[in-house]
Amino acid sequence: MLLTLIKPTSGSINIFEKNLATHRKEILQQIGAVIEKPDLYKYLTAYQNLSIFAKISGVKATKDLLMKQLDVVGLAERAHSKVKTFSQGMKQRLGIAVALVHNPNLIILDEPTNGLDPQGIADIRKLITQLSKDQGKTILVSSHLLSEIELIANRIIIIDKGTKVVEGNAAELLDPAKTIVQVETVDISGAKQKLLQTTWATNILQSTNNLRFQMNKADIPLLTKQLVDLGIDVLSIQPRHSLEDYFLSLTTQHNHVDTVAN
């Protein structure tokens, strides 16, 4: 919808303080996007693909500009190779070059690490961070890979079944004071009974299969001491502080996260 590929059934979209329906061309000139798969003209070279999309975006596609852009995504040496010879990671990087070639203010990346190997994922992550920090670009990333989002996002929106569940600053959402701690014991129900008589009762999260607390990470030693004092046989204590855990605490079904890095 942000790229006008799908029409909204109701409502309107404002980007850069302008209505998308009435200022479509103006707004799209400032947006670059990679939509899920980096689909490009396979029978053309990387340079030709980039040249085509630069021209459509209204940019004067000089050789210097195109080669510089290919260099940014690490494809300068393969500029004149046909896209059909590229790996998924290379296509993804070329897709990002296409998204960046007209120097947009907003970059939308839909599942940018889909189908990439660990090195490819790391490269894309590095590139996104560079664009955000060095060039001050606003990057909207839509992804199911929560661990990746956690590494790059400043601001996070969690969407469940098409509805926004939470939106906020990544640092705030992943507040250490709200760390989830999972305790593995020999007798979970017995341990719960004992803990419900203590001040830790308010920290226990509702669950029948495990024993989990939401607490400040700094208080883990105090919890450990309390468990020993109560004679609970502890097998392990695991602090969980990832976006994935936070997400799972909000929902157990849909998992789709949108993040904004700037």
């Binding site: 000139q29 996007a33 939509i35």
Partner: protein, 293 residues
């Protein structure tokens, strides 16, 4: 718009399948030319055999470049729509199946411009294809077989067009063929907008042409009266009209005349109306369409 058109042309002429059409046409015409070079005189005698006693025919002279070109066009122009559909049917659906349509539609150009650019690009392709046919079938045939009067068979008999009255008729005939082929391109484009795979619109375009041609040709009164006037195929072979010439009271052909000019003009108007309607429909649908692939 100009930039978009340049890009569309660049994409069309970078695809190997584009050149397939040129290669097929060249091979086909060369085969005819070689055959007629070997047995042209006999072939002409066979074709006009029934008139042997009534007309003083010089078969060798009649087998000239103009006649070869006329023969080629008669055989070939029926099949060129397939080659046009091969490229035009892929213009939008090919991008959809490749996934580039989303990228294209997310750029700061209007969807109407995208369709118009693709249509005009297909026009350039059709023009190039017909120019190729003209060069090979007319220019090369003239160079190999020479120039002389052109004999044209009609339902009422044969007529002779003087050599210096022929060439301009070919220019107009190719111009007419261009408009006719653009109807095919417009149909393929519309089907391409409706589809998300390349093969469907190409096959469907060819299918529509075959069905419409068969219905146009059927001598069934109800079809002739109610359906034929509205079929584009009824008007597509109007190029032949440029080679039907008026005769005076003595039966002598009148140089520079066209016997059925109003009918030709009507055909041109009908074909142009088809093109405008089909391209407008393509733009309308494409503007409304959610692009998911």
């Amino acid at each position: 718009m100009w930039t978009l058109l340049q890009i569309e042309l660049f994409k069309i002429f970078k695809k190997p399948r584009t050149y397939l059409a040129f290669a097929i046409i060249a091979a086909f015409i060369f085969l005819i030319q070689i055959g007629l070079l070997a047995n042209g005189k006999d072939w002409m005698k066979f074709i006009l055999g029934g008139l042997d006693e009534t007309m003083d025919m010089e078969y060798g002279k009649l087998m000239n470049g103009y006649a070869v070109c006329f023969f080629v066009l008669n055989l070939l122009l029926v099949h060129v729509p397939i080659l046009v559909a091969l490229v035009a049917g892929d213009l939008v659906s090919g991008e959809a199946s490749m996934g580039t349509l989303r990228l294209l539609a997310a750029k700061p150009v209007s969807r109407s411009q995208i369709i118009l650019a693709k249509f005009f690009a297909s026009a350039v392709y059709v023009f190039a294809l017909l120019l190729w046919i003209a060069v090979i079938s007319l220019v090369i045939s003239i160079a190999v077989f020479g120039v002389n009067d052109l004999v044209v068979a009609k339902q009422t008999g044969v007529q002779l067009i003087e050599a210096d009255d022929v060439l301009w008729r070919y220019f107009y005939a190719f111009g007419f063929a261009f408009i006719a082929m653009m109807v095919v391109a417009a149909i393929a484009l519309l089907l391409s907008v409706l589809s998300e795979n390349s093969i469907g619109p190409i096959v469907a375009t060819v299918g529509i042409i075959i069905v419409c041609t068969l219905v146009s040709e059927m001598e069934i009164p109800i079809y002739q009266k109610y359906i034929k006037p509205y079929l584009f195929t009824t008007y597509m072979l109007g190029w032949k009209g440029f080679f039907y010439i008026n005769s005076n009271q003595d039966g002598e052909t009148i140089k520079g005349s066209i016997q059925y000019l109003p009918a030709i003009l009507k055909s041109v108007a009908a074909l142009l109306a088809y093109i405008i309607a089909l391209v407008s429909a393509s733009i309308f649908i494409f503007r409304k369409k959610d692009i998911l692939s």
